[in-house]
Amino acid sequence: MSLHSTIPNHEQPAEGTASWHERSPKALLQLMFREDRFFLVLSVFIGVFSGLAVVCFRFAIDWSRIYLLGSGVTLTPTRLILAPTLAGLVIAALVMKVFPLARGSGVNQTKAALYIYNGYIPLRTGIGKFITAALAIGSGHSLGPEDPSLQIGASLASALGRRMNLSRDRMRLIAPVGAAAGLAAAFNAPISAVLFVIEEVIGRWTAGILGSVVLSAVSSVVVMRWFLGSEPLFRIPAVEMARPSELLAYSVLGVVGGLASVLFSAGITALRPRCKALPRWTQYFQPALAGLLIGLIAVLGAPQVMGAGYEYIDEAMHGRFTWQFLAILAGLKIVATLLSFVSGTPGGMFAPTLFIGAMLGAAVGGAQHALLPHLNQSPGTYALVGMGVLFAGFLRAPMTSVFMVLEVSGNYSIILPVLVANTFAYLISRSLQPIPIFDVLTRQDGLELPSMEEQREEDILRVEDAMRPVAGPVLGPEDTVDHALREAETAGAEGVLVRLKPSGWSSVTKQELREMADAEEGGIALSSLLGDRRIPYVHPDHPLETALRYVDRWPLVPVVSRANFGKLEGVVSQRDVLERYREFGEG
């Protein structure tokens, strides 16, 4: 039996918007039904349009790389320096003058659209993100295409939603639906995209949200694969775990990855506000300066840090680099990404996170192989696990991190190492850097968006924390009014609870009982007088706020067992609830 059915009709909560109030309940229901259905159809279209946009975004990135950096892998020093520097100047001018909201990664903007702007993301922001991020990534700035794709998808969805004149509730959800589509197409990984959006943007699961998000993600991936093929981001070498003792080695990787995540987060946390605080005119040159420094890193021997770096992740998985060089690359990529990101260059942090994780993982694997040659794992396995480790530690999306590795590798046998390593990284990162990076960024931008991690960790007060044992009499449906009055007077209670048949509860005050007795109804069974006066009941595990909805109208709300609705576990009153909240508030 659901709680909803225990609420009398006149207690149904009203819907939020003014326009809905003006409609009749029937029309309202029809509209809701139609909009729900149409929202699912719209989700598919959002997926298709986002997929198309992300495909074009990929083309744009590749073209800018070919024309700015060259088509080969051995690049000339002149290009390595000039391309990111000059592109930085152009990007800064575009961001400052034309697309002011295109800065940063895009995840927080999408969350802000959901929680602050009623789903509104200007299409101009999406266009700006497309142009500036393609230039930035193509010219070698150390950023990735996933977060911008997420925002491009969200802004497209928002634009579509506005044209469709959707209700406010739907409009709020439409940006995450587009975000899932954009991310899924960029990653070629629909499950991870859906999980990420649910885990980090929306923060809750309902059938309606999940249906829309899944539909949009799947349709965008279908479109993307139509144009770009279905090959995964990396060619995954053979992966297997030969012995359980290898889990120890992966634990070490989890610890190292957790520490690296903290270092990376701390760098952004410290440097970003400082860069933003510099005089406004410097913001025209910050991306160019970042580009120049990244170019210098490339000229000095590490061109791998430029751009998203997927091809180098692939090579690291195939054992191209020595473990010492892999460790250096991980460090340099952290520096390069910090430079690009804190300078306000538009672009994402997913790809750099994966890069750092893969390099770190392969480095740890290589070092362990050098020290303990009997641990005969391929560098690819460590690189793959390392990607998940950084994802869990830095982006603090533990579920997504696990599924992302599974989805990218297509290999279930890697699940144990991933779980072990990700858990270590996540716990270390959480203990050393309590605020997740996305929350740090929103707070630095002066916004207060709900933290999904805090929500997950939040202590919830439940009814069982406030309920107390039944003090007054509990009567059966056959008991008469006179009997009830006697019981109430004997117990000194203001009212009694009455168990109804076949199920349900009612209550009656002593005053009401007296009035009934005076009206010569003393011999009548309570059930015949109270049959239609059912009161809501709650279960011990319900959130306390559920009880709060009823305690102002009913002096005592029964708390009944889920196993046996006739068994009373206790009662809860308004005073009990408020008292418990007060205690909780005082810590």
Binding site: F38, V48, L52, V55, I66, N118, Y120, R124, G319
Partner: protein, 386 residues
Amino acid sequence: MAGAQDEKTAATKAPALPTYWGSEPVLAALLSLLAVVFFLAVTGLSRLYHAQQESLGQRWFSRGVDDLNAQRYDRALAEFRAALRYSRDDYSYQLNLAQALIGIKRPAEAHAYLINLWERQPENGLVNLALARIAAQQGETEQALRYYHNAIYSTWPNDQETSRREARVELIEFLLRLNAKTQAQAELIALAANTGEDAAQQARIGDLFMRALDFEHALAAYRVSLRANQRNAAALAGAGAAAFEIGDYPMAYHYLQEAVSANPKDSGSADRLQTTELVLQMDPFQRQISAAQRNRLVVRAFATAGERLKSCGVGGAAASSQGNLSDGWTKMKPRISERELQRDPDLAEAAMDVVFNIERQSTAICGAATGPDLALLLIAKQHEGN
């Protein structure tokens, strides 16, 4: 975020669309139409993009192949990596990259690529052969044998028979390096059966049989080769050597003479011919010689052994052994004359036993025999084998 707020305000002021637009099917149709238009536009872009990617991939691949063929592995590697940027999943790009990696002596990295390729096409001969080479280099014998056998029975892009034969030859070389001669002989027999009468190939098989110490099959292979080309100096030399090892000195003499005549610079065959001549001249057990001639040869062999004994005078344990032999030789010497041998036919056998003993012991103590001593040793071997 202030900008967003302004734009949000602007959005809330935007007029609602006319009500007829709210009709679900109309909206769905409009969206479908829009999707088709965008789809077509992106298809056009996509064609441009893929054409460019393919062309760039091909360009870098061609350069890579040129450099790989010229054994400029470093450059080839960079070029194949560039090619793979444009067609990440291309089988031949990856395979060539792996070959460049093998060339540059980075087998572990090559192995990772090859394993991927092998999983995609386990029947690919090139991939199996490359994996076999890496396993062989790394001393993983079982893996190497498995991949070599896979390669022999795999499919090959061009000239399947030749490729399979070459893979088997490589396997035989590997087995010979491992000193697994019996296995090598088995593979050689299969190889010979599948090679036909190609002179060069049969000569090569003969060489491999020789290395596997299967002289009978080696001789057969050389003879097949010589049927196609009687003046093939290498085959003549091989046949001579094989016949020599078998102990068929008349045949060896025939082939070696031909070999030296075809290639006078072939010192190995010349030396072997000289030894063969000595064997034929000094062998007292030949059937077609007279008793007198045989006695002369015994007397000469006895004298040769005496010379060897004198020249091999050493101390210690060797001296003791030599002393015994010397005593035996000295004791017998007065009896070894043509007359005595004619009188006592059993004496020849006893004399030759002493000769063979002296030559064998001397070789063990003083090193390899040459000239007549070697000939005597070979005669001993043949005689005792018979």
